[in-house]
Point group: C2
Chain length 380, copies 2
């Protein structure tokens, strides 16, 4: 146990990364930057060469030592096979995959053990991992060593994972600047269904509803629509893989959402053309909005704080280089730290709004400080 404890503080060398796309390449850059010896391999020789040129690691030769840690950075549908191969090939290494859905990978590895083609002892060296970064771009060319900084990194042990292997994966998370969280595969998959996969489907449904909207309607689009539909711009190929692999967790949440939507449609239908609709219809709509209030209040704000600890001040910002710089410099001079910020522009205007969130209680101070310096400010 002392040896396992000691290994918790550092990533063992060498690390073999299998699959050098955005995540694999970025892991290579981050680990190489930290002085870890990184070996790279990819099914595509071109991709592998590019990752090596970018400094993510080197191509291992016959003289190189076996890896102590193997990271499989491949889509969920092929990750299990690559994990099994790595466990067999390097009989003492810890093997982790970084696919964004975990149960399907664990089930794939477990099936090979149940078939007798892999030992229980080998399975013990497998730990799942999910660094939550790199959603919007893809390919090794977009790889950067810093994309894991300040992001959650889910460590996903299974009931027979070796403590030392779990510690190695946790050390990896810390080494690349992430925030490690430990969840089992089912909890991980339900969690990402809630915070990532269902929001993706909802945003895509909303985006799809705009395909046939009249052009003039879209001129009225404000920050509400823009925010609600932003992630609808995601990559279809990637999302087919993710949603297929996590269908079991996404389905029930979406199915409840559909039932709720049916209730809303029934309520709206009873209101159409009826100047005095049944009271129950209004209650159904009010309950939806109220439950929505309650749900979003549960989302942790900055640094895990509740969002209602903040107050928002709106500032008119002329659209010229340096105006936002002046705004933030002057906020800094007033000793005010920004908690959040959204910018808003309107069709046809050369002026925007900055909605600035600050700790509750400091909004008056901020308003006074900015007004004194000539800014147009609105609270609320």
């Amino acid at each position: 146990m002392t040896a396992a404890g000691a290994s918790a503080s550092l990533v063992p060398s060498p690390v073999r990364i299998i699959g050098t796309g955005l995540i694999g390449g970025s892991l290579g850059l981050a680990l190489s930057g930290a002085g870890v010896d990184v070996q790279l391999e990819d099914v595509s020789p071109g991709t592998e060469s590019l990752a090596i040129e970018m400094g993510a690691g080197h191509r291992p030769g016959p003289e190189d030592p076996d890896p102590a840690l193997v990271l499989v950075a491949a889509p969920p549908d092929v990750a299990a096979a690559l994990v099994v191969r790595a466990l067999s090939r390097w009989p003492t290494a810890t093997v982790a995959d970084v696919a964004s859905v975990k149960s399907i990978v664990l089930a794939g590895v477990r099936a090979v053990v149940d078939d007798g083609a892999l030992a229980e002892d080998d399975l013990a060296r497998y730990v799942g991992a999910h660094p939550m970064a790199g959603r919007e771009v893809s390919g090794v060319i977009a790889a950067r060593g810093d994309i894991f900084q300040a992001r959650p990194f889910v460590v996903v042990p299974h009931p027979t994972s070796r403590a030392a292997s779990v510690a190695v994966v946790r050390a990896l998370a810390l080494e690349i600047g992430s925030v490690p969280l430990v969840l089992d595969a089912a909890d991980h998959d339900r969690s990402v269904a809630h915070v990532s996969h269902v929001p993706q489907v909802v945003a895509s449904l909303l985006g799809a509803s705009l395909v046939d909207a009249p052009e003039r309607s879209l001129e009225l689009a404000g920050p509400g629509l823009r925010d609600t539909s932003r992630i609808a711009a995601s990559d279809p190929r990637l999302w087919v893989e993710i949603l297929s692999a996590n269908a079991r967790a996404v389905g029930p949440i979406l199915s409840e959402l559909r039932d709720r939507l049916d209730g809303v449609l029934g309520a709206l239908d009873s209101m159409t053309g009826d100047p005095d609709p049944r009271r129950g219809s209004r209650r159904a709509i009010a309950a939806l909005i109220a439950d929505g209030n309650q749900g979003v209040q549960r989302i942790p704000g900055k640094h895990g704080g509740a969002t209602d600890h903040f107050a928002t001040v709106t500032v008119l910002v002329p659209d010229r280089p340096g105006e936002l710089g002046r705004l933030f410099t002057e906020m800094g001079e007033a000793g005010i730290n920004l908690e959040d910020l959204t910018l808003e522009h309107t069709f046809g205007k050369k002026v925007g709004m900055a909605h600035v969130s600050v700790t509750s209680g400091s909004e008056g101070l901020l308003t006074d400080a900015l007004t004194e310096r000539g800014w147009s400010v609105a609270q609320g």
Copy 2:
């Protein structure tokens, strides 16, 4: 016609505002600030007094002249009755209501004309209006004269609206700093269903899906969930009125969305537990995400430009007062103008990410300028 043309450039005095909540009070502040004589009335004497104290206008006495323009700032369910009363009471005034749904108000006024209780000539002086501002707060205490600045203001004439009355309402929009757009009532209601009411229902459904999510799941929440669910924090009472009043336009869009969701559920269901699901299932998911891509690309970006003219650069920002100020000052020094910005913080970390959008082609310049000054920057 010359007289009507001339009146297009100014708001006639006095203006009577009926209903001094957030929108009525803010209109009063904006018009009073522009030197217009504003008369105020509200069913609540307390609200009326507060609006007067705030400088939104004065309480009209028996000596005061009749209004040339009447603005009814009341919810959609009572707006029509107040419009009819104003048209009868001041037989030469232009009367506009500013409710956020327009067909229901026009139908209410038209019904009184059809009953013979109001003349066609009186109806001609009615014009609908919808200043698109002030969604997130309510009450006259939150009123500000600048909330209409740089926002769309929909002018909603009906087939028999007098040109001079339409011109007066257009002049009002310009006077308060808004961007006027002319749509008929049905087009307006369909448009706000698309850009505001359906997004509200979708965000509320997503928010409601989080009510029973495990606490630990929510620790994985990132900017995707936060943006997609942000407007779920809206006021239930307000939204019951809006959705009830626009049920006819919202229903069909939501109903199509539900059918699409049913298709996604069917596809997910066929994938559950099946290692090699039907190809059609994958195609249904890919088509949803692709249509979502296409829909969001139709939303005008800043100043009506398409969003793909922008490139995003991500900068690591230490969580200290003044750091964002330094970032934007240094961007200004490099001559780079920000097109959009989102900030992102992660549970448990004292560092955030600023995703900075700039015109495509200037991302390299920005990256170099910031890297030179010691910032950690990632493109893409």
